[in-house]
Symmetry: C2
Subunit: 418 residues, 2 copies
């Protein structure tokens, strides 16, 4: 299947764009003499790369607005965890479909997920057409029996993942250093190396995690991971806010990738700002994530880009920090590179993970600077068309089956609350 | 002209809502036996009060994305001020129309504005149908000649405002204590009292303003205003971030109204968080504003609500601060009350300043809590219909003349940049 995007604006010029085998094959001034199986009339919409969401728990869309404005520990123990215990693969499937729908409608082409009932998530992503890196939650709470179970599950998932489409990437998901035993982390390290897998871990999100690490392991979290040999370019660390400069240097030295989740950090009041400047000075590859809907409460990466840039400026008292172009890169090319993907930039040979943006909207006018408008003024609603791996998932803001997906997610929640 | 909103959801119940003379006249379970000149089929959309934007410079929509990520002083002197010098009434008219269009499309029914070329703004608001409190910028820089001019202008504007529709409120707009002389502020105080006008002032937005006040007047800004007799329920103070607790107590004692602009404060890196908790403890009436598009860069009050609540939680390291219901109230009932309006709540006898919200969208599903979803997940794109003073300004997201307004704003910018 080849696809021709006719008459789209790319870097100020009106071009035609030929896509085949999921890749951009040709770009030339419009009208070009390209032919294709399918033609999409761009009508002067602007083409930009799609967005890469570096940290999510997609099916938590079912918990959007279920519990807000609460102290972290009681929020988890009285609200989130009791509901999660009642989840089934089917409910996770419906929650993930809702999340995928929201992501498609707000211009996200890829997400890095960690959640329960893996097959529910995987099935939803396969159907909905997004790219994703998916991990099951590994938590053993220092119980060897539980670890043995998790290892068996993850071995099976790895085998099963070989039948997934190439949009899906199986990842190992040790939850955090305070929920996974040393033996568990060592197994993750070895299995990842053996099968060339990424590792998705929550790292230093809160101060108690650091204090606990000092007590339990006699060192800060990053040093502990270094001792275990977990630090490498396979490791994607979500949050990474409670770090000192030595830890940041260690992450850089070992080419660990880091995902900042500013909205979630603010909503949960984690008490510290992501040290963006230090990460950049150290040359760490930094991406951007929304986190799950229970702590954000949406999956709109446009909003997350703005909040990221605002929080940086505010926290370090300098309006020049993290300019629009930098945060745009975090959400596109850097986000893709972290997961070994070549998307996030537009060019011949690059994956056709693209958005068509409608600039004929008041919030995109007068249009002095496209990237500024995308980062500081847009919401996901400016996206007209979302294309992933050369397939049109949304056009003119319509996603097939939208009403049904929402209705089924509502039914899933009724079942969950029963 | 009467208007019947048929089959809308209000507080969980499907009702019909009868509007006449700009007010809500009747509410009853649907179908009610109301008749009206015009019927709008709600089709199960949810009715909520419209949003009140407490601090804007509407025509700065022309400068959206023109200059970002700059140090405050060079941003003003090399970018914003040189462009503002070239503004004309006609350009301000086109910029304000664009701003009004954006506000209508994102659910704002009222805004409190301060800007140059007053008549350009007023004409745009009259045409676009929003409510507004409008002030010209009073800046005399201690020049008695300039003050005399400004007084003459404002006397004329006050006279002219008597012919405005009752959606418009004329307000005096002394820019700030560091740009208006003591004599200027005294004139404002007396003219406002004589003619029962509100006063719109920037107060303690940055630390230099406080330092300058200590040097120039020997006291902090709020004490200076107290000495001049400016503190009263007429005064609407925008920003008010660099205040100590004594100043907050003084504002409360004198019933001064305060507008928090969290997005602008973050983007410009003003270095301090609005002391929301102290204002609430002191019982100060607090509203919410976007500020102008040069420092935000949009006018979407939904986004501003979220950023407000997030920033409070993050700054005081407590996720329970400014819950969704509190920030919703700031943007609705409190915002209206500050300007002596009875909107912001839905009830018989209240102004028909209403929104119809589409909850059949992924970011509004599953829908555990409407107010949480509006504050933490929605953008302005969830608004289907905007009604101001009983008149439908947008329905099914269509505003008459939208394309032309955007095109004319673009043409205005080309002229401005020539």
């Amino acid at each position: 299947m080849s696809l021709l995007l006719r008459q789209v604006v790319f870097e100020g010029e009106t071009v035609d764009l030929l896509i085949a085998a999921g890749l951009i094959q040709k770009i030339a001034p419009s009208p070009a003499d390209f032919s294709a199986d399918e033609v999409l009339e761009g009508g002067g919409l602007t083409v930009v790369p799609g967005l890469y969401n570096g940290h999510t728990h997609a099916a938590m869309s079912l918990m959007r607005g279920y519990a807000d404005d609460m102290e972290l520990q009681s929020w988890l123990t009285t609200k989130i965890w009791p509901l999660e215990e009642k989840l089934t693969e089917e409910l996770v499937y419906h929650g993930t479909r809702l999340a995928c729908l929201e992501m498609i409608k707000s211009g996200t082409v890829f997400f890095n997920d960690m959640y329960w009932h893996f097959h529910g998530t995987a099935r939803a992503v396969e159907e909905m057409g997004l790219r994703a890196a998916l991990s099951a939650v590994i938590i053993d709470l220092n119980d060897p029996g539980r670890l043995a179970e998790q290892i068996a599950v993850n071995r099976d998932l790895y085998q099963a993942s070989r039948d997934f489409s190439d949009r899906l990437q199986f990842v190992l998901g040790p939850h955090a250093i305070y929920t996974v035993s040393r033996a568990g982390l060592e197994w993750v390290r070895d299995f990842a190396a053996e099968h060339d897998l990424m590792i998705h871990l929550h790292l230093s999100e809160t101060e108690p995690e650091v204090k606990n690490s000092l007590t339990a392991f006699g060192c800060r979290p990053v040093s502990y991971l270094a001792q275990l040999g977990l630090l490498s370019e396979r490791l994607v660390a979500a949050h990474a806010v409670w770090l000192d400069r030595d830890e940041i240097a260690l992450l850089e030295k070992n080419q660990v990738r880091v995902i900042n989740n500013p909205t979630s950090n603010m909503k949960l009041a984690v008490g510290k700002t992501f040290a963006y400047r230090h990460f950049v000075e150290h040359g760490v590859l930094v991406g951007l994530g929304t986190d799950g809907c229970a702590s954000n409460n949406n999956l709109d990466m446009f909003e997350t880009m703005k909040i990221s840039a605002l929080l940086q400026k505010f926290a370090v008292h300098d309006p020049t920090v993290q300019p629009a172009s930098a945060v745009w890169r975090m959400a596109t090319a850097a986000g893709a590179a972290i997961f070994g993907l070549r998307g996030g930039e537009i060019g011949v040979g690059r994956p056709a993970d693209l958005l068509l943006i409608d600039r004929e909207r008041p919030e995109m006018a007068p249009g002095h600077n496209l990237i500024s408008d995308l980062v500081y003024s847009a919401s996901g609603a400016v996206v007209d068309t979302t294309i992933v791996a050369g397939r049109v998932l949304m056009h003119q803001r319509r996603v097939p089956g939208e009403k049904e997906i929402i209705a089924e997610a509502r039914a899933a929640v009724r079942q969950l609350l029963r």
